[in-house]
């Protein structure tokens, strides 16, 4: 010792007595980080670390991933199935047999009385792909309802729709490696450092080696916006105006990639005609970005040898989210930035396995991007599953956002919620509550029994979480990655896979069907099915062991492939999965149907994510070292507006919209303009009591980020009491 004590003091540092490291893929967002879980001699997961060899995260993890192993025994976990006939009475514990019998009887009873489609299933982007596939098989093949969707309609539906409209198929065409090659990055409505920290780190690493301009379009001064070379503080909901004006400049100044347009696209004439009207001087009046900046950014983007766009919910969660995606695709097609290293149109996905549900859950059709509308696809799947093709509907049913109105209207009488929490996540909560109250039979299948939806359910099925199970996720860059079982399911909870296969046995069709008993066998079933799919979604060369060895493989990965990582980019040859192989340029007209601030409700209400929380906080709200950074709802409010209203830092205020009210703490910051509030969406009974959530006509995704509210001062003690009463975690 240098100085201090003469005798040497013991140094005690918590030891991590790991006897085995288990391979897993993070179960939060879509970045798809590889995690090693440290298991001790007692079989308990005691620590986690980023996998140093995984290409995605290269050893890094964000706050959620670093603490993720703590969720296995976090408070509120479901320990056994719970049942009640009447939602006004208390639950009683039952065994699994009884619970699953009751589930099957309840579903069939609703269907017998009101028709097959009167029972709806709403799932998630959080399960393993094998589970999604099995759930799809159960719902489409056994239960036979066509009202089956995932909560991905709240986050990625517009990207899916936009990709399909522009390129003929879903699937982000780019990858994280594009940061290493791009000469200009344009981010729309993406708060990358908070939403996808590890993708941000990949971008940062690329910028440490080589400077290139970063342009961030966001109404809020996020760390990303502050840190960018250009921040375009756009008026909410006007992104298509901005892109049209950029396209105007690109065509007017002859900066378009004419060779690419001629060779690989249709519809250029119509697009050019439309954007001719979008002079930047006019656009500036609408989108709030001055014309010089629009011109500068358009030139920068078009003249870069390779330029890429990324976007998240700022685009997707809009009344014209699909159009927004199409317009970003237009921008990249016009500048020849598709399928080129560093030139792409990359939607940064939301949930860890939003891609898996898009690919294999049958929510939007049939497994492997197959379509219900396609006779051959129906035949093929029916034969594979061992059912009559006539059992499958000839078109897609309702999306999640249409299922709740259908419950309100009495068309749907029963609901099965799987790993999703509409009582926090859906817009206009008053309507959602009314709808939930009208259900005759409701099953909630979730990791947590304190999830708010159980208040409206008859049956609660406790699910295992993450590495208590095994299976795959697909990330934003189409990388399929694996989670190995690391620990036994908590108490009597069961893997979702087990629940689906056991429930299937209770339906008539199951007698002719063959459900895989283990997730790996289900994966191999998907491998077989992916061969004939025809599109890019080919995983026929993959196996669990190959995936783990490579720390994730990117599709397409056809049989016989031996590449280390798979296929990093789509459409490199300029061939698109459309009828004529050409991408479609689709002119997008600005639609202004948002609720906008007025005299009674003078503030824009914007919502979004914070880094320490995931979705509705059912997981992160229990983990102190994450939750403590934002343990209760708040809003960002401009200090000038606060001074006018007499509101102090840290004061409770009441927000009021045309739909309801909410109590939040005021955080005064110039991150937001004087006429805008920002409220994180994670909290129960908070921002979605206020939101309107008008739907996109193509994707049915709600516009969470555009509505109008006013601020009222409130009595502090009562507000504090109400705030505590509104959250159990």
């Amino acid at each position: 010792m240098l100085f201090g004590r003469r005798d040497q003091k013991p140094i005690a540092i918590p030891a991590k007595p790991v006897v085995e490291w288990k391979y897993a893929t993070c179960n939060y967002c879509s970045v798809g980080c590889s995690i090693e879980l440290g298991v001790d001699a007692a079989g308990k997961v005691i620590t986690s670390r980023g996998h140093g060899e995984a290409d995605v995260n290269r050893g890094k993890l964000c706050i959620k991933g670093l603490l993720e192993h703590e969720l296995f025994d976090s408070p509120g976990r479901g320990t056994r199935p719970l049942l009640r006939e009447d939602t006004r009475t208390a639950y009683r514990p039952v065994d699994w047999d009884h619970a699953l019998d009751h589930a099957a009887e309840g579903i069939q009873s609703v269907q017998d009385r009101h028709g097959a489609d009167a029972f709806a299933v709403v799932s998630t982007g959080q399960l393993m792909t094998e589970e999604f596939y099995t759930l799809g098989k159960l719902v489409r093949g056994c239960i036979g309802t066509n009202n089956y969707d995932g909560n991905t309609t709240l986050c990625m539906a517009s990207a899916v729709s936009g990709y399909k409209r522009s390129f003929g198929a879903d699937g982000p065409p780019g990858c994280y490696d594009d940061f290493e090659h791009t000469e200009c990055l344009l981010a729309f409505g993406s708060n990358l450092p908070e939403q996808h920290p590890i993708i941000f780190w990949r971008l940062k690493e690329a910028l440490e080696k080589r400077r290139f301009p970063v342009i961030v379009v966001d109404p809020r001064v996020t760390m990303f916006a502050q840190w960018a070379d250009f921040h375009l503080p756009i008026t909410p909901g006007t992104d298509t105006v901005l892109v049209n004006a950029m396209l105007h400049v690109i065509f007017a100044e002859d900066l378009a990639d004419r060779d690419y347009l001629d060779a690989h696209t249709n519809g250029c004439v119509e697009l050019e005609a439309l954007v001719r009207e979008s002079d930047p001087s006019k656009a500036a009046q609408i989108c709030g970005i001055d014309e010089d900046t629009i011109r500068t950014v358009a030139r920068l983007y078009a003249q870069a040898p390779a330029a890429m766009s990324i976007w998240t919910m700022g685009i997707n969660q809009s009344t014209h989210g699909s159009d927004g995606v199409v317009n970003i695709n237009n921008l990249n097609l016009v500048t020849g930035n598709i399928g080129r290293p560093g030139g792409t149109s990359l939607s940064i996905t939301g949930q860890c396995n939003a891609m898996g549900t898009r690919e294999w859950s049958s929510c939007s059709g049939l497994p492997g991007y197959r379509l219900l509308e396609n006779d051959a696809h129906r035949e093929e799947i029916a034969q594979h599953w061992g059912i009559e093709a006539s059992f499958l509907p000839r078109g897609i049913g309702l999306k999640q956002t249409d299922i709740f109105p259908a419950i309100e209207a009495g068309e749907i009488r029963g609901l099965w919620l799987i790993a999703t929490n509409p009582l926090t996540s859906m817009a206009h909560q008053a309507r959602i509550r009314r709808a939930m109250e009208k259900l005759e039979f409701c099953i909630v299948q979730d990791v947590y029994e304190d999830v708010e939806t159980t208040a409206y359910a008859n049956l609660y099925l406790p699910a295992a979480v993450w590495a208590e199970k095994s299976g795959c996720h697909t990330n934003t860059e189409r990388r399929v990655n694996l989670t190995r079982n690391a620990v036994e399911p908590y108490a009597q909870s069961k893997p979702d896979f087990w629940i689906f296969t056991e429930l299937a046995k209770r339906f008539a069709n199951a007698s002719t069907m063959n459900f895989a008993v283990e997730p790996e066998a289900a994966f191999n079933e998907m491998v077989k099915l992916s061969k004939g799919a025809g599109g890019a979604l080919d995983i026929s060369g993959m196996s669990w062991d190959k995936i783990e060895a490579a720390r994730g493989l990117q599709w397409p990965y056809p049989e016989g492939t031996n590449a280390d990582t798979g296929t990093p980019r789509l459409y490199c040859d300029g061939q698109f999965p459309t009828a004529d192989g050409r991408a479609r340029l689709i002119p997008v007209r600005f639609v202004d149907n948002n609720e906008t601030p007025c005299a009674d409700y003078p503030f824009w209400l914007n919502s979004g994510r914070v880094v320490e929380h995931f979705h509705t906080r059912t997981r992160t709200g229990k983990l102190g070292n994450a939750n403590k950074f934002s343990p209760t709802p708040y809003m960002e409010l401009n200090p000038d507006a606060a001074r006018d209203l007499g509101i102090a830092q840290g004061e409770f205020v009441r927000l009021v919209s045309r739909r309801g009210d909410a109590v939040v703490l005021a955080q005064l910051t110039h991150r937001v303009p004087r006429n805008m509030l920002f409220v994180p969406f994670h909290y129960h009974d908070c921002v979605n009591r206020l939101t309107l959530g008008l739907l996109d006509p193509y994707s049915r995704q709600p516009a969470f980020k555009q509505c109008a509210v006013r601020i009222e001062k409130t009595e502090q003690v009562e507000a504090g009491r109400l705030n505590v009463a509104r959250r159990a975690y």
Binding site: A15, L61, E208
Partner: protein, 592 residues
């Protein structure tokens, strides 16, 4: 033998320690090689000594392990993503209400020309570790390996003095465990050639670590400070910064400390927030502040006043004629004993009180306690001697007790002369403590005289009382002027005193003035002697109020917090509303 830390199979380069050995001396002229440093200090330590982490006797492979290491923080790059904090919490298994590393921020500008500056801060393993010097239990060690300043929670008794003297909020007092713990530099990782967990986890490429004064690859600067960081001259912290982006002229904090930072020649300077800033609740309105006056430091208010009363009584009692020695030598240990008992209740682990003398070599707290305990013991012995009529012995013991008491009070003053606490770091501490000793001493002597029916000589005691009040008042006047003049945390605290506590503040001043008039009247013989007792009572209330202000109002020169984490206003609100009853909120419901 088990490894000190298990490296990952393919450990990425960013996690590996650089082998850049750096210069011979740091910017303060101190040797960076710690073996050489110990040699220069005349007590050379050997190389290749094991650190003894978890009783593991192995010696790390890192060839630079005897160089002073430190953190490097590129503030332009920090995105406030909490990965460093999470990695630290995960590795050290800290509960939600504690953190060895915290990220706070300052912000400024006007939308959209707005900037937030995030600051991630742990322990800076200083050249001059004030925590180590202050700790009475000698729980701290600065090691010749990496220059790590490590603290042993099993030695600590939870007095929290290290949390007062540290300018960076590094030591963490856990109200549940009743002891302090802190950043251990991840010396287990360093020993196997890896950077600390927080650095390895950094997502913004903001944090780094290495031999001090070395600049990481791709970085240019090694600045000693950034806006919001306390004066590095206090402790010579081993952290270096890069911050190149021009920041707004005024930076504010999201937490409830009423401070802001203004651009001045050569950097940013802290000061009280601008009047009417809505970021600070109740700013500018004058209140009583009574709720906040009742604090965890009540025990210290009682301790210091009782100890000063005891020593004051002894000193005056020995000088003023006609004070019966027996009762005096009974009353003094009683007051000191009550005071020391009060101070013990303030400890996180009161049963470890005896460790308070471990660090007489450095700690003013240890010396304060030793002086007062000696005074108590000697005066008590004197009292026993009076019982046995050994008057010479009693006289000698009382004289020695007086000397020990003066030593105790001297170090009591020294305890509060803390550079990281400008509101305290002023000679007014002397006048406040001496004034209280005189006021309570005069009252006590008068009381003893009255009780034992000797000749009550109030005139000299009234002069003592007047001097005590006067000394205190003069000190307060100069202190006020000095606080406004030095600005920063001192001025911010003074403004809180005159606004949020404004009514109590003027009550205290009025009491001082009135008590001084009483004392003067009695001393000059122009009023009835009963006014002496009125003066004593008012001066006593004023002293108690002053002392409560002293503890409650001090604003450390510490790092900015965030809106929730490290924001005392949010913590108070969470306790009041009951939100703090959820452990994952990270606020200990019992207060601290």
């Amino acid at each position: 033998m088990a490894e000190l830390w298990e490296r990952r199979p393919a450990e990425p380069d960013y996690a590996k320690l650089s082998q850049n050995a750096g210069p011979a001396e740091n910017r303060y002229g101190q040797l960076i090689d710690l073996i050489d440093l110990t040699e220069a200090q005349g007590q050379a330590l050997p190389k290749n000594r094991p650190l003894g982490i978890n009783d593991n006797p192995s010696v790390g492979c890192n060839p630079l392990r005897n160089k002073q290491h430190g953190f490097y923080f590129n503030a332009d790059n920090c995105i406030g993503c909490h990965a460093c904090e999470a990695a630290c919490a995960e590795k050290n298994e800290t509960p939600a209400h504690l953190a060895f590393r915290s990220v706070g921020y300052v912000e400024g500008g006007s939308y959209p020309d707005y900037q937030r500056l995030n600051i991630s801060m742990a322990c800076n393993h200083c050249d001059d570790p004030v925590c180590l010097k202050g700790c009475p239990t000698a729980a701290y060690t600065k090691h010749a390996e990496y220059g790590a300043v490590l603290q042993d929670p099993d030695t600590c008794f939870g007095c929290g003095y290290c949390t007062w003297v540290c300018p960076y909020n590094a030591p963490q007092l856990d109200p549940v465990e009743g002891q302090v713990s802190k950043c251990n530099m991840c010396v287990d990782r360093l020993e196997v050639g890896l950077k600390p967990a927080c650095v390895s986890a950094c997502v913004g490429n903001a944090l780094d670590f290495g031999v001090i004064e070395t600049v990481p690859e791709g970085r240019q600067d090694a600045d000693a400070t950034i806006p919001g960081f306390p004066d590095p001259r206090i402790t010579q912290p081993n952290i270096r910064f890069q911050q190149r982006k021009r920041l707004p002229d005024v930076l504010t904090r999201p937490d409830s400390q009423p401070l802001e930072y203004r651009r001045e020649e050569g950097g940013y300077r802290s000061g009280p927030v601008s009047a009417g800033d809505p970021r600070v609740s109740g700013s500018g309105t004058r209140g009583w502040g009574l709720g906040r006056l009742n604090s965890r430091e009540n025990a210290l208010v009682a301790f210091t006043l009782l100890a000063q009363a005891g020593v004051g009584l002894l000193a005056l009692g020995l000088f003023v004629d006609g004070v019966p020695l027996g009762p005096l030598l009974f009353a003094v240990p009683a007051l000191l004993g009550a005071g020391l008992l009060a101070s013990t209740t303030h400890l996180g682990k009161p049963l470890r009180f005896y460790r308070g003398f471990n660090n007489l070599r450095h700690s003013p707290v240890a010396r304060e306690g030793a002086g007062l305990a000696a005074c108590l013991a000697l005066a008590g012995s004197g009292w026993l001697a009076t019982l046995a009529d050994w008057s010479t012995l009693a006289a000698a013991a009382s004289a020695l007790a007086g000397a020990a008491g003066i030593v105790g009070l001297y170090y009591m003053v020294r305890c509060y002369l803390i550079p990281a606490r400008p509101f305290w770091n002023h000679w007014q501490v002397v006048t406040a403590f001496a004034g209280a000793a005189l006021v309570f001493g005069a009252a006590g002597v008068a009381g003893l005289q009255l009780a034992f029916a000797v000749d009550v000589a109030l005139h000299p005691l009234a002069w003592c009382l007047l001097i005590g009040i006067g000394v205190d008042g003069i000190g307060l006047g100069f202190h006020r002027r000095a606080m406004w003049r030095i600005g920063g945390e001192g001025a911010a605290a003074q403004r809180e005193l005159e606004t949020a506590f404004g009514r109590s503040y003027w009550l205290r001043n009025a009491l001082l003035l009135a008590s001084a008039n009483c004392a003067l009247g009695v001393a000059l013989g122009v009023v009835d002697s009963a006014w002496f007792w009125g003066g004593c009572a008012m001066a006593g209330v004023a002293a108690a109020l002053s002392r409560a202000f002293f503890y409650v109002l001090v604003i450390p020169t510490t790092m900015p917090g965030a809106f929730f984490w490290r924001n005392s206003a949010f913590a108070d609100q969470a306790r009041q509303t009951g939100l703090a009853n959820l452990p994952q909120v990270g606020v200990h419901p019992g207060g601290h």
